[in-house]
Amino acid sequence: MKHFTQIAQGVDTVPVINALANHAELWNQNTRRTTFDGTPHAEVDDIWLRFNEDKGQFDSAFADDLEAVWYPAASVLLPARQIVADLMSRVWGERLGRIILTRLRPGRRILPHKDIIGKYASYYSRYHVSLCGLPGSIFRAADETVTMRTGDVWHFDASAEHEVVNNSADDRINLLVDIRCP
């Protein structure tokens, strides 16, 4: 496959799912990704664990900023940080970028789009850890489709047009992790 590379299976996702069940208030505290005009992620719920420091300016400089800081949710969802630490070790990561928990309810979709491959996206590699993924949850990039099952970890090349349709019976919850790799 050109755009998807599976790098792990069987990650124990239960501790994170349990933490999410106990902290539903964390969803959608940061909605910039899901509410701007024309966003393809309008049907998504987010929790930002690590992102650029919010200085109130959301311009190209913000988008290109390579430095990310921990957000308060990361202090609550500690099991997610354990997964990230393990992933960093597995891929020999040198630097940690943004980390987002993202949820797509059944029947919802992320519209087709291409990520802007600017300074930030050129620098970091994007990994998806599937915390909840069932058959029928379709992730398409160009002419390739995958279903990320619970516990799978994938490297994803976001430069191709991609979309997600959650036609499964349960939420699709992914942990998006950006890592600078050698």
Binding site: P106, G107, L134, P135, G136, I138, D143, E144, T145, V146, T147, V165, N167, S168, A169, D170
Partner: protein, 155 residues
């Protein structure tokens, strides 16, 4: 109309859900002249072996997570065409309640996309004369190049 999505799925997951659909499938398309003598009796071990060695390809159709259709395809080099990768459809079916104008077309299109990605040169398929889906084949650019025959000799 329900949303239906199509994707390649592994046998190890499909096998847990497939039997009720196969039973409905068999009830619809089995030959009424010999159905009493040739019961549905899937060779699970053979399917497993085909999956384990990468020959078996499955495209699944799902609606709200439920399996509502499938195409099973065996991908291998031809006995007479060793240098050529071929795809032979084993079986395909969509639940009657989920059938719509484009469901069969999209199922076969997804199979074709996957077969092209695997480097398959030619696909072969068939349909029952009493369950004719040849308009779908025609729409997708297939041609009829053989006629199939069978004779029951188990009486």
């Amino acid at each position: 109309m329900s949303l239906i999505t199509y994707s390649t799925e592994p046998w190890d997951e499909i096998k847990l859900e497939i039997l009720p659909l196969w039973q409905s499938h068999w009830a619809e398309i089995s030959d009424p002249e010999d159905a009493d003598y040739i019961p549905l009796d899937p060779d699970w071990d053979e399917y497993q072996a085909s999956a384990d060695c990468g020959i078996l390809h499955i495209t699944a159709a799902r609606s709200s997570g439920a399996l509502v259709g499938y195409a099973f395809v065996f991908v291998k080099r031809g006995l007479h065409y060793k240098s050529t990768l071929l795809a032979h459809f084993d079986l395909y079916w969509v639940e009657p309640a989920m059938r719509g104008p484009w469901v069969g077309v999209r199922l076969f299109q997804e199979v074709e996309r996957a077969m092209r990605a695997r480097g398959v040169m030619k696909m072969t398929n068939r349909c029952k004369t009493w369950c004719d889906v040849s308009p779908i084949f025609a729409r997708l650019g297939w041609k009829q190049d053989e006629s199939g025959f069978s004779k029951f000799i188990g009486d």
